[in-house]
């Protein structure tokens, strides 16, 4: 097996697993940059996966055909934003502990989604979806020699959407007035307030954006990878996204890189058993390699991660 063939196995699977993580991590960037910790990403993703599966299924019956997953994405974005309002109200208006309210969101989502699935389908899981996001070669880019088939062959379009959105988010956070305000609110809300920025409003918008992105991430997972929704569809991906965001130093492109790195490590651990040389390594070592690589990367190469200064602290007007 040649090197190129090995890469052709590893790289597409790395990109494939990373898309939902990238999207959710981007949501985390918005929320945390504004100073609100969002442990609830897992729950928001779960909600998104649920909505994604349910509305794709109904989209099929309503005759939307191939557009049904995309339709479900829109609904998932909307519902994700609305659902995250619970976290926003509790942690911004009522100044509750943000971690606790985020955890509450996770529990609520886990219970609510399964309850609703039971109510709607009278079963513990949704039916299998027929209209999914299917793999295809990306036109034009696929024809580039060598890297074309590596990066753009046989892949989900949603993966590229996620990568593109990472750049969009980077532009919004670092190059627009809105982004500047967002970061100001997260670093020093009192200073921002004195400059006439409505801190509560900015934080509400940021948390809702995080809900929208996490919802999209969950819906992408359901429609491209799992193909239905069960209680175990989202099991830890939200937390991995959170880790990717911190790993990426609260930076959209950093989060993108971290999510891709996670995907790569995961893919290596699985496909390694098919690759000469790596095949000789005991199975267990390959399986733990993603975690070892992550620890090494965090400890050795990334350096200090600086969280936004005001993260986790509710803002009270006029308090010193």
């Amino acid at each position: 097996m040649g090197l190129l063939q090995i890469l052709e196995i590893i790289i597409p699977t790395a990109i494939f697993a990373a898309a939902p993580l990238i999207l959710t991590a981007l949501g985390g960037v918005f929320s945390e940059r504004s100073g609100v910790v969002n442990i609830g990403l897992e729950g928001l993703m779960m909600m998104g996966a649920f909505i994604g599966a349910v509305f794709t299924f109904y989209g099929e019956t309503w005759g939307l055909g191939g557009a049904s997953p995309w339709f479900s994405f829109l609904v998932a974005i909307l519902i994700g934003a609305v659902f995250s309002l619970l976290h926003a109200v509790a942690s911004i208006s009522f100044r509750a502990d943000q971690v606790v309210s985020g955890v509450a969101l996770n529990f609520l989502a886990a219970g609510l989604t399964i309850f609703l699935v039971k109510k709607i389908f009278d079963a513990g899981q949704t039916p299998y979806l027929n209209e999914r996001i299917f793999k295809s070669d990306i036109p034009f880019l696929f024809d580039i020699p060598i890297i074309g088939p590596l990066l753009f062959g046989d892949a989900y379009i949603t993966s590229y959407l996620a990568v593109a959105l990472a750049f969009v988010v980077w532009f919004i956070v670092f190059k627009t007035p809105f982004g500047l305000r967002l970061r100001a609110v997260g670093e020093h809300p009192m200073a921002a307030d004195t400059m006439g920025i409505n801190v509560a409003k900015m934080r509400y918008v940021a948390v809702m954006l995080s809900g929208a992105f996490a919802g999209l991430g969950g819906a992408v997972y359901a429609t491209s990878i799992s193909g239905n929704f069960t209680h175990s569809t989202i099991a830890g991906q939200g937390f991995m996204a959170l880790a990717a965001m911190i790993f990426g130093k609260w930076h959209p492109l950093g989060a993108l890189g971290a999510a891709l790195f996670f995907g790569f490590a995961q893919s290596l651990s699985i496909t390694g058993q098919q690759i000469p040389l790596l095949k000789e390594i005991p199975h267990v070592i390959l399986l733990i390699s993603p975690y070892v690589l992550t620890i090494l990367a965090l400890a050795g190469f990334v350096g200090r991660a600086d969280a936004p200064k005001a993260i986790g602290k509710p803002y009270e007007k006029g308090k010193r």
Binding site: F16, G124, S224, I225, S226, G227, T230, S232
Partner: protein, 365 residues
């Protein structure tokens, strides 16, 4: 002062809990009269849930059939409790004991340890464990647990024949959930089947290390298909749904790939063209948990509870076999399956269960 009230309060609470526990014990001993107004049977699902389209669902279908046959009322006469976590197993089992069910099923080998513990504490209750053998601390079978197992290697052998005959690339894959004695029966039976039908075919085996991770399943499948494998047999529960996703994707792009399902007829899971009812599922190795549950329930009702025994369901008892949907299976394969089914039932062919047995099987070829 306040503290003292607090202490008093907690004493009362503690006494209350203790007493209520006594209460349920009493009703336990009073279950003698209750048994007369009908046989009651229940099951605890593993984390897959009662409609996992796999063995939990199959077990529940068996119970429902048993209930219908005997005019039992759902919830009262036959019931199930769902486990969301591994930590739910023990409370669920205990709760059914307290509700005086005459026979309590634990579905899945993941429940083995919990059912052993509960069975040791509740000597009066009768349990049945599906997919594994319950033993006490000394390794002796527990008298109040019937262990139901399947000869999965026999069913896997049959689907192995189909895979061997219908693979065009002569490269075949096997994806297992977690490495264990049980999954090794699937693996070795399958390999033996492939070897019998097509000695040139090569079987690549990989374990996911997880029964519930669809994205891992898809990644492994992608790696296998990428190397030219064209038939994959999965024995990996929820991880397997990722294998189907990957196969459907490839089929849509014109590649000729197949998946062999497990535990029940997984034709529906592999449908990629609904209009023409086309599926990537070549066939499935079905495990008739429903037959087993029905049989053991009937025996117990008649007073022949097979406690302490291992009840094995194989081809002969119709406990395993290939799926009824045969759209994608060639006439030649079906012929061979029929032929070997007879040979296995008559004992002419002994299907290997473990890696060592497979090696001897291979050397005898």
């Amino acid at each position: 002062m306040k503290k003292r009230y607090g202490l008093l309060m907690s004493m009362v609470l503690a006494a209350g809990t203790l007493l209520s526990a006594c209460g349920s014990d009493e009703s336990d001993s009073g279950s003698g009269d209750k048994k007369e107004d009908g046989f009651k049977v229940a099951m605890v699902t593993d984390t897959g849930g009662v409609d996992d389209k796999s063995f939990n669902q199959s077990a529940w279908e068996g119970l429902q059939e048993f209930g219908k046959e005997n005019d039992l009322e759902e919830k009262k006469g036959y019931n199930y409790l769902q486990s969301e976590n591994q930590s739910d197993y023990r409370p669920n089992l205990n709760s059914l004991v307290r509700q005086n069910f005459d026979l309590i099923y634990g579905i899945g080998f993941l429940m083995q340890e919990d059912i052993q513990k509960v069975a040791e504490q509740q000597k009066e209750a009768q349990f049945a464990l599906v997919d594994s053998v319950a033993v006490d601390a000394d390794g002796k079978p527990l008298e109040n647990v019937a262990s139901i197992t399947f000869k999965e290697h026999q069913g896997s052998f049959l689907v192995g024949l189909v895979a061997g005959l219908q693979s065009k690339s002569n490269k075949i894959g096997f994806i297992g959930g977690v490495e264990s004695e049980l999954i090794s029966k699937f693996e070795n039976g399958f390999k033996a089947g492939v070897l019998t039908a097509n000695p040139d075919a090569e079987v690549t085996v990989q374990y996911a290390g997880d029964f519930n991770d669809a994205s891992k399943g898809a990644t492994i499948a992608s790696a296998l298909y990428g190397q030219g494998v064209d038939v994959i047999y999965h024995a990996a529960g929820g991880t397997g749904s990722g294998v189907f996703t990957e196969a459907i994707n490839r089929k849509k792009n014109g590649e000729d790939v197949w998946v062999i399902g497990v535990d029940r007829d997984q034709f529906e899971e592999g449908i990629y063209d609904k209009g023409n009812n086309k599926s990537v599922t070549l066939t499935s190795m079905v495990k008739r948990v429903d037959t087993a549950v029905f049989e053991v329930s009937t025996q117990t009702k008649e007073g022949n509870f097979p406690g302490g025994q291992i009840v094995e369901f194989g081809l002969e008892e119709n406990g395993v076999g290939i799926a009824p949907t045969e759209d994608n299976v060639s006439e030649e394969s079906l012929e061979m399956v029929r032929e070997y089914k007879e040979k296995i039932v008559s004992g002419e062919v002994e299907v290997p269960k473990t890696a060592e047995e497979f090696e001897t099987f291979k050397s005898e070829k």
